[in-house]
Symmetry: C2
Subunit: 244 residues, 2 copies
């Protein structure tokens, strides 16, 4: 039920797809980075075809950019496009939270929410890199699952939030997210449609404000921190993935 039909197939290209997504989530790949197909093939132990299929999937999902005779690059958002992504995320999140509140059914969905809550608490206590990402994903999957809208389940993960997560990763954002997620869980459990929609919208709005502030700060003082906006030519050669 959590897996949309198209996702459940377990093929080789799927493995590459997931691998790249996971690498992006865990910070092993960063926006702007090039992905040479032979490198990926050896890295995941598959043929070039499988890699190319995965690239098509990733491109359709907005994770990478393709251009002829160039290595695919992980999408890098300029400030304007970052805001555009957030505008889309706002209405989609609002729909997700409202639908979840509308369809929330304690007997079926109760422990799903409590387990999500637990996972968020765990992520708050323990300070492990991948932990928070997993909790966040779990939260949204639970939300979408409760809502039961299959088209939303399909499209929501296609919003460019993955890129934003990778590009603007700060502790400040993480803390705010945790708080907002708890609020959302609360209003969904109360089945308060209006409050749920508002909470979803407000969350994205908060994230937007923080990112905007950071972008403006960054524009004035030209200091580039370790993890934020990486230039497209960050990796000068196409073979950008080092083998272990």
């Amino acid at each position: 039920m959590l897996k949309p039909s198209g996702q459940s197939v377990s093929t080789t290209s799927r493995r590459v797809f997931r691998g790249v997504m996971k690498d992006l989530e865990d910070g092993r790949m960063v926006p702007g980075q090039r992905l040479a197909e032979t490198d990926l093939a050896t890295r995941f132990g598959v043929g070039r075809n499988a890699v190319r299929e995965a690239m098509q999937h990733l491109a359709a999902r907005g994770v990478i950019d393709l251009s002829r005779h160039r290595s695919p690059t992980i999408r890098l958002l300029d400030p304007a496009e970052t805001m555009e992504v957030l505008d889309v995320a706002e209405v989609m999140t609002a729909l997700a939270t409202r639908t979840a509140a509308e369809r929330f059914d304690p007997p079926g969905h109760g422990d799903l929410l409590t387990s999500t809550m637990d996972m968020l608490a765990e992520a708050d206590r323990i300070d492990e890199p991948g932990m928070f990402s997993r909790a966040r994903r779990h939260f949204y999957r639970a939300l979408l699952s409760i809502g039961g809208n299959r088209e939303l389940q399909r499209l929501f993960p296609a919003i460019g939030m993955h890129i934003i997560y990778a590009q603007y990763q700060t502790r400040q954002l993480r803390g705010i997210r945790l708080k907002d997620y708890r609020t959302i869980i609360g209003v969904v459990a109360r089945r308060d449609l209006a409050a749920a929609e508002q909470a979803g919208r407000a969350h994205v709005d908060t994230v937007r404000d923080i990112i905007r502030a950071r972008l403006e700060l960054q524009q004035t003082e030209e200091c580039r921190c370790a993890r934020t906006p990486i230039r497209p030519d960050f990796c000068h050669t196409t073979s950008s993935i080092r083998r272990p």
Copy 2:
């Protein structure tokens, strides 16, 4: 400007992708139909690899369903999922119309709207099958172009409306769409944000009501018209595309 970055590449798999989309739009392929990869390869004069890449792209876009060791099938919406698609379409369309109204700039966008208007009028007069589909696509592209939100330009065509167009094609719907599109163009040109958002929402709402009515009608009297809900096993064999 009309083309998102990922779309502009012109490769062989891209040709297959476009070909399938066009076949769907023109009614040469219908929801539920199977797409054997060797058939597609010969039909488009390309290798199997290219077809498989295109299938990954189409699957990511929600145009086809993939399952292991089965020919891909064009997505077929049951009544519930049809409504779910429309729920997503509603908020996305509302965002599109509002953003267009917000960013509308007569000097730059004026003749884009008039040309769209002309095309819609043309489609209304002449009764050619592909004509209306082209006009509709032109309308939405213009809307998204005016709004300028690149993420929305990328995600909007990924909504399952293509399938709905193919599955619920009636003259009644066409007429209503034409009228609604003109209304939307009007309020966008007036830069009335609230009215634009409302018009977008109302349009999808109207479409939903009509489809719902048809589905209920269909449920009572079990008559299946020529073009509507085709069963998944419509094509009994996998080689469903006949060569000319």
